[in-house]
């Protein structure tokens, strides 16, 4: 009886966070398999709310000047507008900040450009302590959160404990990040029969899908895969030698050198500059790269066509049409969604 009473005194009065399943878009339900939600981190109203607050809170950085959102801004589809990003000490990293949306559908759960982060929860650990990002350490962050007048209660509501840990902190951030769903572009509405594409946009789609023209679909999906990425790793012919090994730096396999994760083509209107190092300022430069600018190397993906000519050599009209199509994949309602703003 004594033990029973002790147990009763330690519980939270039967309190349970409120489940908040992801609001899965119709196109996703109809075309791709279910998102990945870890069993040990279910989505809850309180967890998402806590994660959102943490995402925008500069308390995670060493000097209180930056938050996750500093490099992952809602108006840029949760990336920023510089080739690489500067951290709290004004030092720039070597990679372009990746946009954040539809992350729960990355089935292999390899995140970041080089796939080094094996879950969203684990990914969120890294930038906090990275010297060129938030340059903090988790011991200090946890202490600051624990001493904060509100966070202790917010963690209790989300996780039924007042004891804050880095693991619970990143779980909350991951829950918020999984809610960042983009599925309301012009092309999405076209797919649902709710919008029409112009003849130029339709020809751009044709260029995108034709193996003898753009052949973009092998790596970036198609109308039946609304993610517009395969979330796989490819050497897309940017360089003949590599200053950044990409996936190869993670696996140690030289066959992976120069390979980076295919980014989604959604929201390109908001995510310039492009590529893992932000080298291309405009979509025109990106298209020109695949048309004429491919660089050969040992690990270049065989899907890259006509490398000896620099690429697939599409006409200027096809380039313009392809760009017009690509822009139909951008989703203004996503960047303006009030649920995603600070």
């Amino acid at each position: 009886m004594t033990l029973l009473c002790l147990n009763c005194s330690n519980d939270d009065g039967g309190y349970e966070p409120v489940p908040k399943p992801l609001d899965i878009p119709q196109l996703f339900l109809e075309n791709i398999i279910a998102p990945v939600i870890p069993n040990d981190n279910p989505q809850t109203v309180e967890g998402v709310a806590l994660g959102k607050r943490l995402f925008f809170d500069k308390i995670l950085s060493s000097n209180g000047t930056q938050a996750c959102a500093s490099c992952h801004s809602p108006q840029n589809a949760f990336t920023d507008n510089t080739p690489t990003s500067d951290g709290v000490d004004g030092i720039f990293g070597s990679r372009n900040s990746m946009p954040l949306f539809n992350l729960a559908w990355n089935y292999n759960e390899r995140f970041a450009w080089d796939g080094k982060e094996l879950s969203l929860e684990r990914q969120a650990l890294e930038p906090v302590q990275n010297p060129v990002e938030l340059h903090s350490n988790w011991e200090n962050v946890v202490e600051r959160l624990q001493n904060h007048p509100e966070y202790s209660e917010l963690f209790r509501l989300a996780f039924k404990t007042n004891t804050i840990t880095k693991e619970l902190t990143t779980k909350a951030i991951a829950q918020f990040e999984r809610t960042l769903i983009s599925a309301n572009s012009k092309f999405d509405r076209y797919s649902l029969g709710q919008a029409s594409l112009t003849s130029q946009e339709l020809n751009g789609l044709d260029v995108f899908l034709r193996e003898d023209k753009g052949d973009c679909f092998h790596c970036h999906g198609n109308p039946n895969n609304p993610l517009w990425t395969d979330n796989d790793f490819h050497n897309n012919g940017l360089d003949t030698t590599f200053s950044d090994l990409g996936l190869g730096g993670v696996t140690g396999d030289p066959n992976d050198n120069g390979k980076f994760r295919s980014p989604s083509l959604r929201n390109l209107a908001f995510t310039a500059p492009y590529m893992h190092d932000g080298r291309f300022t405009t979509l025109d430069e990106v298209i020109n790269h695949y048309s004429e600018g491919l660089q050969n190397s040992l690990t270049i993906d065989p899907l890259m066509k006509q490398i000896n000519q620099g690429g697939v050599q599409i006409s200027n009209q096809d380039k313009a049409d392809l760009k017009a199509f690509l822009l139909t994949l951008s989703d203004p309602s996503f960047i303006n969604n009030p649920a995603f703003q600070n």
Binding site: D206, L209, E211, N225, T299, I300, L303
Partner: protein, 259 residues
């Protein structure tokens, strides 16, 4: 196949109700298919990828960088020519070593059968919407008839100028007149007959793919002329279909005992 659930089409639905079934009822078993790959007898796994180390019949040296393909509609035919068709499919992905072992959920009576399956998807199955294949970006664009790849086989070869060059041996339904109204000159999925197999509890049936055969017979494949952009090339697709006829064979049939 629409729900990815297994639907058994029992052409003879009462196989277990033969005259002596009360005395000797057939055991219901769930055979496993495993998929192994070789180059003219030498085992190929993804550890062998990315190195130019194979030579095709035409004399070109090549590497393998990606290999995945669909098999479907596994059929068991007994000595009375009665068939059990499992309306299933499996995306074999050697690149990532996924689905190299496949056990359909549906059981069949133990016995001796001729076992066959379809390489790719027949036209009816190819018109369905498969969420898992979409998620793998295995689709074929609508202007090429839609549906799915049957196989994606990518690698590099040393071309006649002694330069490494990529190839994409992608097998799809042969198509002409790409666009809004494509036409289909010839079906390019095909039936693979593995021969006779005695299926018992825990049976594991090895399906062997000799990758070299894709380049061999009856068409000695010239990668210098047929290397990329083969999806809209119906003549190439028909040649792939012809070469595919001898790619698969029955390997070992073993029995795994559950403890």
């Amino acid at each position: 196949m629409k729900n990815y659930a297994l639907i058994v089409i029992l052409v003879l639905s009462l196989m277990a109700c033969s005259e002596d079934s009360d005395d000797n009822p057939s055991l219901e078993v769930a055979p496993t298919l495993t998929f192994t790959h070789n180059w003219d007898g030498s085992l190929v796994t993804n550890a062998d990828f990315n190195a130019i180390q194979y030579t095709n019949t035409n004399g070109e040296q090549l590497s393998i960088e990606r290999l995945r393909y669909v098999i479907s509609d596994i059929v068991f035919t007994n000595s009375n020519n009665e068939t059990i068709e499992l309306d299933v499919y499996n995306l074999v992905d050697l690149t990532n070593a996924n689905n190299l072992s496949f056990t359909p959920e549906t059981t069949i009576p133990s016995g001796t059968y001729t076992v066959s399956f379809t390489f790719g998807l027949d036209n009816e199955d190819n018109s369905d919407n498969y969420l898992d294949l979409n998620s793998e970006s295995f689709n074929v664009p609508d202007m090429l008839g839609g549906g799915y790849h049957y196989m994606q086989f990518d690698g590099k070869f040393t071309n006649s100028s002694m330069v490494e060059q990529g190839f994409n041996y992608h097998v799809i339904r042969a198509v002409d007149n790409p666009g809004a109204n494509p036409t289909f000159p010839q079906d390019t999925f095909f039936t693979v007959n593995l021969g006779s197999v005695t299926v018992t509890q825990g049976s594991v049936i090895e399906v062997r793919m000799n990758i070299a055969e894709w380049f061999k017979n009856p068409n000695a494949w010239d990668l210098n002329t047929l290397n990329q952009m083969l999806m809209p090339n119906s003549a190439a697709q028909i040649m792939m279909n012809q070469n595919g006829q001898n790619v698969f064979s029955l390997g070992a049939v073993t029995e795994v005992i559950d403890n």
